[in-house]
């Protein structure tokens, strides 16, 4: 059983994001972290590996700085690391990233794929289903937990009427939402082991993926528009005005 976990390094959720020249200014980001949804995927994959055995490969498509994140994955228990080196990751469109990751999964020989439901920076949410499509694999999204019963894998996922259990067999892709699991803390032993694990570094061309043509062009990045300030009313005298606004402007009563 080969398990692949797809990881993306994103600006830490506490990092300040600034836009310059129509693009997010990456040089101004002071801290990069593993995307939180990917952390849940990694933890669940580690638990699956521990319960059922198998080899766990951590895969990322990203610039050189993302190597640190792969080492972090090794420190908590990833067996091998695969880095598809693309320095200008924001120059790739979602379908190109999917092609690269699907080819990387095939290269690793894995047939079970764990990933986050979306990356915490772009929030596109297309990697899981896109990779599954290219692999011709089953895809379960919004997953909180995966358990193995030997022959098939059962994923717990949130649905509109509560939780669903979905059983699938390999090849399959699980896209993780925030659930009950948190990524484990590493320990010194893991950190020492991680030092010895060297990532296999490939280019998209090494995997036979052509990234010269994109079907998507990014016009620009902008901070979200400022919301108009809220209105504040004080005292009993304002009741009539508030009721009027709720009825005529907000249309809620």
């Amino acid at each position: 059983m080969g398990i692949a976990v797809l990881l993306k390094q994103v600006p830490d959720t506490t990092a300040k994001i600034s836009v310059s020249g129509g693009r997010v200014d990456e040089s101004a980001v002071n801290k990069w972290s593993m995307s939180p949804y990917d952390e849940y995927a990694l933890e669940s994959a580690l638990q699956l590996k521990e319960s059922g055995g198998g080899d766990l490969v951590a895969i990322t498509c990203g610039p050189s700085r993302a190597a640190k994140m792969l080492t972090d994955a090794a420190a908590v228990g990833a067996d091998s690391l695969l880095h598809i080196l693309v320095e200008d990751i924001s120059g790739l469109d979602s379908t190109q990233v999917q092609s690269i990751l699907a080819a990387a999964v095939a290269h690793s020989g894995s047939d079970i794929v764990f990933c986050g439901k979306q990356a915490a920076d772009t929030n596109a949410g297309s990697t899981g289903p896109g990779v599954a499509h290219l692999m011709d694999a089953s895809c379960v999204t919004m997953v909180s937990e995966v358990v193995s019963d030997g022959s098939s894998l059962t994923a717990m996922r949130a649905s509109s009427d509560g939780n669903e259990r979905v059983a699938v067999s390999a090849p399959c892709v699980f896209a993780f939402d925030k659930g009950i699991i948190e990524l484990r803390r590493p320990n010194v032993r893991g950190i020492m082991m991680a030092k010895k694990k060297v990532a296999e570094t490939l280019s998209p061309a090494d995997l036979g993926v052509d990234i010269s043509v994109s079907s998507v062009s990014i016009i620009g990045h902008n901070p979200p528009p400022q919301k108009p300030p809220g209105q504040k009313f004080e005292g009993a005298d304002s009741v009539a005005a508030v009721v009027g606004k709720l009825r005529d402007e907000a249309n809620v009563i």
Binding site: D72, R185, P186, N187, V188, R189, I191, M192, A194
Partner: protein, 390 residues
């Protein structure tokens, strides 16, 4: 708001990936486990057992020692661990210092092969807790005149005397105790439950409240012959341990100072007086600038000393300087931070008063501030000024 450590001269860029990963692991643990629970631990006067388990699981106890299941990290990594633990609380760093530098280290350096194989694997995982018995009620800065005696009774040693101010004493599974055998200081491993050994807890502390402090009492305490550390005699034994612990303290003090600085900066930016944040007033900025200046110097001192520890070119006087200076400035920064917080500074909503009270102990233990000055004075002049004897 995530904690952002003051690192004005980018010490971070000097660290190896491994050192950074260890630092981040401990930093995350302190954020998650220590800071939300420290005030309760202080009020209850306990060191939560869960912390012992976590420290063992992270694998950081006895950090710079190698072999026998020990981590084998660099002294820089050990320093960073101390820094992060003490950013949480000096009591947590004290626990790790005593376990690693004062209890594990003497067994690792001076113990027999059997002693190392038996004790160290259990101690690095935190399964067994150690303590260190040197100071006595009447012999603190002057341990050479200790009263505690060991007698060779043929098939066992008989220990008599009392030790005081022993961190981890009551909860410890073993104590490394320094006692005179035929007038010569030797190290003995005393286990919990050895006949004639008790370790009552000392209460009423206004400092290091989340750390256990005890007396060790030996009344005709019988210990087997194989429990003496064979490879050291005299004060060199305990002083070697103290050198390592003092080195860790020089980093730990930086952590406590960073915590106080971070709290003071945040408070000064949000506290409005006379229609402006107090951070906009020159007297407050002067204080913050002084803190930044002293923390930066302390960091560079600790880092360079760590490099010297790692390549083996250090001398004990350099450790004295770093311990003395870094604790001194950390205490002054804690007092200044309390001042910036105004009345709020005395509340347990902020970490500053707790750090301040802790650092009063840290200034005194592991060689008082004044004793370190005398160590430096002897180094400079060649004349010892500890005693009036020639």
């Amino acid at each position: 708001m995530a904690y952002e450590a003051l690192d004005f001269y980018d010490i971070d860029s000097l660290l190896t990936d491994e050192e950074r990963m260890v630092r981040d692991m401990v930093r995350d643990w302190v954020d998650e486990k220590v800071i939300p629970n420290i005030e309760k631990a202080c009020r209850d006067g306990v060191f939560p057992d869960e912390w012992r388990v976590d420290l063992g699981e992270m694998g950081i106890l006895g950090a710079p020692l190698d072999g026998y299941g020990c981590p084998g990290l660099s002294y820089i990594a050990y320093g960073l661990i101390c820094q992060e633990l003490e950013r949480g609380d000096s009591g947590v760093r004290s626990f790790a210092s005593v376990q690693g530098s004062l209890a594990m280290y003497p067994i690792w350096d001076f113990g027999s092969e059997e002693q190392k194989n038996y004790y160290l694997p259990k101690m690095t995982t935190g399964e067994w807790i150690g303590c260190f018995g040197l100071t006595e009620p009447d012999y603190g800065s002057n341990p050479g005149d200790m009263i505690t005696r060991a007698e060779d009774k043929g098939d066992h040693y008989l220990l008599n005397g009392a030790k005081m101010w022993i961190t981890n004493g009551t909860t410890a599974d073993l104590a490394v105790v320094w006692a005179k055998l035929d007038g010569v200081i030797r190290g003995f491993i005393v286990e919990k439950g050895d006949p004639g050994f008790t370790a009552p807890e000392m209460t009423g502390k206004h400092s290091l409240k989340a750390s256990v402090t005890s007396e060790l009492v030996f009344q005709d305490c019988i210990i087997p012959k194989d429990r003496m550390l064979p490879h050291v005699k005299g004060l060199k034994g305990p002083f070697s341990c103290l050198n390592n612990a003092r080195y860790g303290i020089s980093w730990g003090a930086v952590g406590a100072a960073q915590s106080c600085f971070s709290s003071a900066r945040e408070y000064a930016l949000s506290r409005i007086q006379f229609d402006h944040p107090i951070a906009s007033f020159q007297l407050v900025q002067n204080k913050l600038a002084w803190m930044l200046r002293e923390i930066t110097k302390a960091q560079l001192l600790a880092y360079h000393l760590g490099k010297k520890k790692d390549d083996g070119t250090w001398i004990a006087e350099q450790i004295s300087l770093a311990k003395m200076n870094n604790v001194d400035i950390a205490l002054e920064i804690a007092r200044m931070a309390r001042d910036i917080h105004g009345a709020n500074g005395i509340l347990d909503e902020y970490p500053v008063m707790r750090h301040m009270a802790n650092l009063e102990s840290v200034k005194t233990y592991e060689g008082t501030h004044d004793i370190h000055n005398l160590i430096l004075g002897r180094h400079i002049t060649g004349i010892q000024a500890f005693t009036r004897e020639p």
